[in-house]
């Protein structure tokens, strides 16, 4: 089963939930850190690196100036303005390119070929019971989704995988959540937590994924998150108490299940609840977005 741990708001405890969950859900689980802008799971799951990180690149256009006659077809086609035609010269802006390959196909002179542009790395680390795969976006590169797809290519064919998603609700989150089996939305019982939970719920419903909520720092704030989950019939899969010792263990890079073993049962119960969660838990989801419009 592929379980994604996500949240609209940052800092609600996604990595905490994902890393601790991976440690209690049996041997041979893969933890994939899809927060490639700020990968943090390795700070908590300390493993041995399995060889050199793999370089991930995006195919970007390169102009053969001998063949190019400056007709401008590539620049007119590019939806991302990654090619600009100045007089008879074509300028390429690789940082804007999504790597669709369209310019190469539309060029009537066959003057464009693709060349790889590095965007980041994917590294595999082995710890006791967990294999950690983490993506790391190069600083200054705007495009996270292709790197996230490269991380997800490491999801094992059999067995369980836990995905640590980036915060937010836009492209990097969608790239992470697509084709997962279950989503855990981590939130906190505050107005910010609730507002961002609602946004995240809209996204997982849009994608038609079964999901539940884990409430972190559960006894801070107020009861509005629980009331919302009740009204929307969203299962609450776990509640993690607001305990300064948890915050301190986290600050030192320790797993809660190791530093405070009394919390182990919270994550074991979360795992059980995810497994037994009904596939139809997400009642308001559209059956499929593909077939109708």
């Amino acid at each position: 089963m592929i379980v994604a741990v996500a949240s609209g708001k940052g800092g609600t405890g996604k990595t905490t939930v994902a890393a601790n969950l991976a440690c209690v859900c049996g041997t041979g689980v893969a933890l994939l850190d899809c927060d490639v802008e700020e990968p943090n799971a390795h700070l908590f799951i300390k493993g041995e690196s399995c060889g050199e990180p793999e370089t991930v690149s995006l195919p970007v256009p390169e102009i053969d100036e001998a063949r190019c006659d400056g007709c401008g077809e590539c620049g007119r086609f590019c939806a991302y303005k990654a090619l600009a035609v100045l007089g008879t010269r074509v300028l390429v802006f690789p940082e804007l390119c999504h790597g669709c390959g369209g310019c190469m196909r539309v060029c009537p002179k066959g003057a464009i070929r693709e060349t790889p542009k590095r965007i980041g790395t994917v590294e595999t680390l082995r710890a006791d019971n967990v294999t950690l795969v983490q993506g790391r976006l190069d600083v200054g590169v705007p495009m996270a989704p292709p790197l996230i797809r490269a991380v997800k290519a490491h999801i094992p064919k059999t067995g369980d995988a836990v995905l640590d998603a980036p915060p937010g609700t836009s492209c990097p989150v969608i790239a992470t959540l697509r084709e997962t089996d279950r989503v855990v939305l981590v939130t906190e019982p505050t107005p910010f937590g609730l507002n961002d939970l609602k946004l995240a719920v809209a996204v997982v419903r849009e994608l038609g994924l079964p999901f539940g909520v884990a409430i972190n720092r559960a006894d801070s704030g107020d009861g509005r998150v629980r009331a919302y989950c009740r009204t929307e019939r969203i299962p609450v899969l776990a509640e993690i108490p607001d305990d300064r010792r948890v915050a301190e263990a986290y600050s030192r890079g320790e797993l809660i299940v190791d530093a405070l073993p009394e919390y182990r049962c919270v994550f074991e119960a979360l795992w059980t609840n995810i497994r037994t969660m009904e596939k139809t838990a997400n009642e308001n989801a559209p059956a499929t977005r593909l077939s109708t419009r």
Binding site: K9, G10, N40, G99, P142, S220, S251, L290, R293
Partner: protein
């Protein structure tokens, strides 16, 4: 004729999410006392409005890019689109045995490149503009505010960020306000780059945890890359004083300036529950935030 002063923009970001960026920005909004336009550029998960309770004066559709759509009645099922799409957005539909195959675009995967549209041999694919959300101009008790909401599962949050900043600047010039205070998104990717490009000053709010420290290094590399003068403050500093000191030393080594510390204070959540900025309450940490504001607002030092 009076010379107009170009408004200056302070952008608050964090690298790691949930470090208190928005709480700090809301306090700055209150401390700016009507002299600033406020911009919420965390368009993925905007929260500033929960504290500043804006009255929306105008809303505008945010359209960005296009998305492919296969007209079922025209599709011959040749599969050329599926072959060419590099984003896995063209998917075969379930069909009865022996029936002609059909394809559809998954809008959550379509990046709007137009390759399938161009190369469909029967012209069965349309390419309408994509509605990605809306941006709003509002009035708050602390001054005018520009904010946005991204549609669920939409993309191009970077462009929406640029739109919000542009409008905030326009509004500041129009109303002759000297300041723009911007609440930025977490991370270091596209929306963050769109937030810090051309900012007059950046404040990074971090926390003394292994992840806060790790993410700060990356975010400082980013602000250096984009040449933005950067300050750093440590929220909940007393959670781990050693890490706080290490962070402040690393800040200076990276060419940024420490701007102060904010104590661990449960009253911050209480303020949020009352939809108040921390400095509008008597929470102990309000004093810490005021000290930081004195350092980062534009009048002193530079």
């Amino acid at each position: 004729m009076e010379e107009t002063i170009k408004p200056r923009e302070l952008v608050v970001i964090s690298g790691k999410g949930g470090t208190g960026k928005t709480s700090v920005t809301a306090s700055f909004a209150a401390l700016a006392a009507g002299r600033a336009v406020l911009a919420d550029c965390d368009v993925d998960a905007a929260d500033l409005h929960l504290v500043l309770t804006p009255q929306v004066a105008a809303s505008h559709d945010f359209k960005s890019g296009r998305e492919a759509f296969i007209r079922r009645e025209a599709c011959t099922g040749c599969g050329r689109c599926a072959e060419l799409c590099r984003f896995g957005a063209v998917q075969p539909l379930k069909r009865p045995m022996g029936a002609q195959p059909l394809y559809a675009i998954d809008p959550s995967a379509c990046e709007g490149c137009g390759v399938c549209v161009r190369f469909c041999p029967v012209g069965a694919i349309t390419f309408p503009e994509r509605l990605c959300g809306e941006w709003l101009v509002s009035e708050t008790r602390c001054g005018p505010m520009v904010h946005a909401c991204l549609a669920a599962a939409a993309e191009n949050s970077g462009k929406l960020v640029s739109t919000v900043r542009q409008e905030a600047r326009r509004l500041a010039e129009e109303r002759d306000l000297p300041l723009i205070v911007t609440d930025g998104p977490p991370g270091i990717g596209c929306p963050v780059i769109a937030s810090v490009t051309g900012a007059d000053r950046v404040l990074v709010v971090t926390e003394p945890t292994v992840s806060g420290e790790h993410d700060l290094a990356r975010v400082l590399a980013l602000t250096k890359h984009f040449d933005a003068p950067t300050f750093v403050c440590v929220n909940k500093w007393d959670l781990n004083p050693e890490t706080t000191e290490r962070i402040e030393r690393a800040t200076e080594r990276a060419g940024a300036r420490p701007a102060g510390r904010i104590r661990y204070d449960r009253r911050v959540t209480a303020a949020q529950l009352e939809a108040k900025a921390v400095v509008e309450t008597d929470a102990p940490s309000a004093e810490d935030v005021r000290d930081i504001w004195k350092k980062v607002k534009f009048e002193t030092g530079n």
